[in-house]
């Protein structure tokens, strides 16, 4: 079997369509499509856009036969295989809203995963849920308490009778899909993205961010339930009639070198990852592997989703120099599911633009002052940030202080955005929507940064969110978990993260405890660490403190930022005394 073609006779159209269904209609006239590679890096299956359209339309007619209301939510457990594409696009033609759910693989975490699926399906009011065979058992458990019209394997839907009813494609102002990547696991929020919103973002990315042309080929291991995986590597190639090659996230995590092999063999030109993916790859690569690959075709290696620390990327580039990886291919970018995917891209072909800023001044006044290499400031007094480039043309940006006043260049504040690519809200969640979207349509991203004209430098993401190995963890989810242990009282826990000198995020939990017996204290710490590992897959530094140590606001609420400040003061005084992550 050979992968799908690179080129085809079709004139390139850069996402100039009103809807995703129209984008597929056009791509189906050419010869390109999607290729799926297995755990050993061999081509396992492929589907051309032509076949995808035929199958999606056929499946849409079957789904229409179920008599659901237009806009009904169809939950799809999103493994990396062509079934996801078929069902996602069947929804587009049938007038239903697809919702990609995570295909999890956390060891020993059945209960947590089933609960997560249940909460997401409950939050979006799913009418139908579809799981690949490997995940049917979890889905069966997750739907027990929900009121679904039907759930099952893809084949349970593919064998439904085809109706004669006309197709009912989603239109410009209809919701195109819901995205569940931004909320906490306990309170999931479905980001509502309309056709207009996603198409606007796809056009911006194609024409301005990546300047896609017909020789491009995309390669990805990102999960389809993630915004970068779905919008960046399922919808973007399709809207540009490009072929795409996929590895599953599990395959990448186990054998990151297969990512490089695929880019090398298929002459991939665009492939992206959060910073941790590059770091993992550099760490696990054997030096003898380097000359097996030729990465000279890789023109765009976007880096996004977390704060970008230059060091791991420099290491990646260094390790792969012999494989012709060009460090100028790195393209720092900034985005979030609330804006479909992308907000800004650094200029192509220029690599990382890291700037050193005065750390103390920034902490004191929020002012970003550049420190030149020739100055005598030491490493400890500077912070390095990467310029995430110009915001895409469909956005307006405003950097604001806490009172809502617009700030000037080089002053840190909340990054606020407006434009066609901004979500319409969190699905059926008015309160959460009003917290971030104002009446004029400005989205308060929650991220902190400063502007340089049209360019944005992100200095902190999502006020409190903890990002480890590409995963977002919400502190209140960690705190809630800790409070479930006997011996830990409700409201006596504060979780946050801090970045160490090499840019690694460390998770910390400060817990108030009356326990004075050293053996029992040790036991509590171990229990907390195991629990957090099991549920979130990360190590956590536990700091037991006496009752009433955690700082509270005048209304009695815990202040997480003050708790972090206090902790860092203790930590700097004596790193070993504040607890242990061992």
């Amino acid at each position: 079997m050979n992968p799908t073609e690179l080129n085809h006779s079709l004139p390139l159209k850069n996402a100039s369509f009103d809807t995703l269904a129209e984008a597929l209609d056009y791509a189906a006239k050419g010869e390109t499509g999607c290729n799926f590679y297995d755990g050993s890096g061999s081509l396992q299956s492929k589907i051309s856009y032509k076949e995808l359209r035929l199958e999606a339309v056929k499946l849409a007619r079957k789904l229409i036969g179920l008599g659901l209301k237009r806009g009904a939510r169809i939950a799809l457990i999103a493994e990396t295989n062509p079934l996801f594409h078929k069902f996602f696009f069947a929804c587009q033609y049938a007038g239903y809203v697809p919702v990609a759910l995570p295909a999890g693989f956390q060891i020993g975490a059945r209960k947590a995963y089933v609960e997560q699926l249940e909460r997401m399906m409950d939050s979006c009011g799913a009418d139908i849920a579809i799981a690949p065979e490997s995940h049917l058992g979890f889905l069966r458990q997750a739907v027990e308490r929900l009121d679904l019209v039907k759930y099952g394997l893809p084949s349970d839907f593919e064998t439904l009778p085809e109706t004669e009813a006309p197709l009912n494609p989603l239109k410009l102002d209809d919701i195109a899909y819901l995205q569940y990547t931004s909320g906490s696991t306990r309170f999931p929020r479905g980001v509502e993205i309309t056709q207009k919103c996603v198409m606007s973002n796809l056009r911006d990315i194609s024409n301005h961010g990546l300047k896609i042309d017909r020789d491009d080929r995309m390669v990805s291991w990102l999960p389809f339930y993630h915004d970068m995986g779905l919008v960046g590597f399922v919808l973007l190639p399709l809207a540009n009639q490009l072929s795409a090659d996929y590895l599953s996230p599990k395959t990448f995590a186990m054998r990151p070198r297969l990512w490089l092999k695929l880019i090398s063999e298929n002459r991939g030109t665009i492939s992206s990852s959060p910073p941790f993916g590059y770091a993992l790859c550099a760490k696990r690569l054997r030096l003898t592997d380097q000359d097996k690959y030729d990465l000279s075709s890789w023109r765009v290696a976007c880096v996004g989703a977390e704060r970008i620390h230059p060091e791991p990327l420099r290491r990646f580039a260094h390790v792969l120099k012999a494989a012709n990886f060009n460090p100028k291919s790195f393209v720092p970018c900034y985005g979030m599911a609330e804006c479909a995917l992308a907000i800004s891209f650094a200029p192509l072909g220029e690599g990382l633009d890291a700037m050193d800023l005065d750390k103390d001044l920034m902490a004191r006044t929020g002012e970003a002052k550049l420190i030149s290499a020739s100055s005598h400031k030491t490493n400890e007094s500077t912070l390095s940030f990467v310029n995430c480039g110009k915001i895409l043309p469909s956005f307006e940006m405003s950097i604001r202080d806490d009172a809502g006043n617009e700030l000037e260049d080089y002053v840190c504040g909340r990054i606020c955005l407006k434009g066609d690519s901004v979500m319409s809200g969190y699905f059926q969640n008015k309160d959460a929507t009003e917290e971030v979207l104002d009446e004029e349509g400005w989205l308060d991203t929650g991220d902190i940064g400063f502007r340089l004209g049209d360019e944005v430098v992100v200095t902190a993401r999502r006020k409190d969110v903890i990002i480890v190995n590409g995963r977002n963890i919400w502190p209140h989810d960690l705190e809630f978990l800790a409070e479930s242990l006997p011996g830990v009282r409700f409201g006596n826990v504060s979780a946050f993260s801090f970045a160490d000198d090499i840019g690694t995020d460390n998770v910390v939990m400060v817990v108030e405890s009356r326990e004075s017996n050293p053996a029992k204290r040790k036991e509590l710490i171990e229990q907390l660490q195991s629990l957090i590992l099991l549920h979130f897959g990360v190590k956590c530094l536990i700091n037991l403190v006496p009752p009433r140590t955690l700082p509270r606001t005048s209304s009695g609420k815990l202040s997480r930022s003050k708790a972090k400040q206090d902790f860092l003061a203790r930590y700097q005084k004596s790193p070993t005394a504040v607890g242990s992550s061992e």
């Binding site: 755990g39 295909a103 999890g104 693989f105 956390q106 060891i107 020993g108 975490a109 059945r110 995963y113 490997s134 995940h135 058992g137 979890f138 599990k250 995590a253 186990m254 054998r255 993992l280 696990r284 190995n469 660490q529 195991s530 590992l533 099991l534 897959g537 990360v538 190590k539 061992e582």
Partner: protein
């Protein structure tokens, strides 16, 4: 390969990633006792797959808690492969 032998091999592979240097038994919990992060677990599973020449499905991991759970899974997968 018999289950007892597989268990032994799994333990010896786990020793390589065990930073805490604990005494591993078939009852040791991979996450709770070894204290492995998800990224380390994956690295370990990769070693297990390569060693036994099997593919462990993501779905089957959800019920794996101890060394012996994993050994049993490996045992079944290697038998299935032979059949």
């Amino acid at each position: 390969m018999e289950l007892a032998e597989i268990t032994k091999t799994v333990i010896s592979l786990a020793r390589k990633v065990d930073e805490k240097n604990i005494t591993l038994t078939p009852e040791s919990a991979l996450v709770a006792d070894l204290g492995l992060e998800s990224v380390q677990i994956i690295e370990f599973l990769c070693e297990v797959e390569d060693h036994f020449d099997i593919v462990i499905g993501e779905d089957s991991l959800a019920d794996v808690v101890t060394v012996s759970d994993l050994a049993e899974l490996v045992y079944h997968l290697s038998r299935e492969k032979k059949l």
